[in-house]
């Protein structure tokens, strides 16, 4: 084949791209699982509290509310949403909210909070947590009198998570 012919150039570029593509596919096959693991490495301990022993993967999401910090899929069990909210304490709080595959709440696990004891903190105590745990993805999270700011923030986060859950 002549080096100046169009055919030669097309073939050369084609072959080169095929080789490069194969190389990239190979490297991606090796690194993709490691990258996926690294993405949830920091959260894994917390995710295990909701679905012990499940295999987790981080999920790409687009969230308009700005409250969702992360979305994780527990294979065969459900979805976990890492949510932030700002109640009385301006630093806010973060928690994990899980929906089982059937839409019922799979877990509500606070990660970080510094709300006032006896008021906002009641949102992370057993009574309110058991109310949340009894909900499904079609409900609205209840408000708690005396802890209006905190429970309102949780309600908003719950809505944001369930929007994502319904759209999944």
């Amino acid at each position: 084949m002549k080096k100046d012919s169009i055919l030669y150039k097309v073939v050369l570029l084609g072959v080169l791209c095929a080789i490069c593509g194969a190389l990239l596919a190979g490297v991606n096959a090796i690194t993709a699982p490691i990258i996926a693991d690294a993405a949830i490495a920091n959260e894994k301990v917390n995710l295990e509290k909701i679905y012990p022993g499940a295999s987790f993967t981080a999920v790409d999401y687009s969230d308009d509310s700005g409250l969702i910090l992360g979305v994780y899929r527990a294979e065969g069990k459900g979805m976990i949403y890492k949510v932030k909210g700002v109640g009385y304490n301006a630093d806010g709080f973060t928690y994990l909210l899980a929906f089982n595959e059937d839409g019922s709440v799979g877990g509500f696990q606070v990660l970080e909070e510094n709300e006032t004891a006896g008021f906002g903190k009641r949102c992370f105590e057993d009574e309110y947590v058991s109310q949340i745990n009894a909900l499904t993805s079609s409900d609205t999270a209840p408000l708690l009198s005396g802890a209006t700011l905190t429970s309102t923030a949780i309600q908003k986060g719950f809505d944001a998570a369930k929007t994502l859950f319904d759209a999944r």
Binding site: Y8, K9, C20, L24, V27, A38
Partner: protein, 241 residues
């Protein structure tokens, strides 16, 4: 631009053919990432790897490549290598990858890499190209280290280095007491200032060397003239005798 390099030693090669301060290539990433020593080392290693392999591959395929499509061919090779290095860094040094961010991907358009492919690798042997890649990569890294050393020490007062994979601090030394650092050096302004000073320094060394070389030449010419005159005088004296 680097044809005279074989005459010079390692360090003067670092200065004369320094891609950043000597040839003004690859300045964008240099200004952006030289805030810490860690960034500089990570970026430097990535560039050395990409540049060396791309030089080798390009010197191998250059004879097969028609002139009209050499740029697309080189860019495909370089982009592939950069993507591979980027994926490996994301997998094994995630902290470093997140600080260097897009600048890893931007190695593709780093003028040093395509510049060396065009100016050197495509017309030289594989071993020479590999050597050129390593040398150019090292002098790029050397420039990054010089920049980041100055910026980190003046900007944060700390001389610090940490493990790129785990982000654990390996070495930390406070050189400037807290409160006396100059934070502007961690910003882009500081980057430009540091760059200008170092580039001026390199230019000064070069000019000085050139002046010396010119003077030496002059002295040599003068000596030759004097010797010629002396011979002429002695010949005259002989004739007179």
């Amino acid at each position: 631009m680097s044809e005279s390099k074989k005459k010079r030693g390692f360090w003067s090669e670092m200065i004369y053919n320094n891609p950043v301060f000597g040839l003004y290539l690859g300045i964008c990433s240099t200004l952006a990432i030289t805030t810490t020593l860690n960034n500089a080392i990570g970026m430097g290693i990535a560039v050395i790897v990409v540049l060396t392999i791309s030089n080798i591959v390009i010197s191998l395929i250059a004879p097969l490549t028609p002139d009209e499509i050499h740029i697309p061919v080189y860019i495909v090779v370089i982009a592939t290598l950069v993507t591979v290095v980027g994926m490996l860094m994301q997998a094994f040094t995630p902290e470093l990858y997140s600080t260097l961010g897009t600048f890893i991907d931007l190695i593709v358009v780093n003028c040093i890499i395509l510049g060396r492919a065009e100016a050197f690798a495509c017309s030289n042997s594989v071993s020479d190209s590999a050597r050129d890649g390593i040398m150019m990569g090292l002098s790029y890294t050397f420039s990054l280290l010089a920049m980041s050393l100055i910026r980190q020490v003046l900007g944060t007062g700390l001389l610090e280095f940490s493990n790129p994979a785990t982000n654990q601090t390996i070495f930390s030394l406070r050189l400037i007491p807290a409160g006396f650092e100059i934070p502007v050096f961690t910003t882009q302004t500081g980057a430009f200032l540091t760059f200008a000073l170092l580039a001026a320094g390199v230019a000064a060394i070069k000019n000085n060397d050139e002046k010396k070389a010119a003077e030496a030449e002059k002295a040599k010419a003068a000596a030759a003239k004097a010797a010629a005159q002396a011979t002429a005088a002695s010949v005259k004296a002989k004739e007179a005798a």
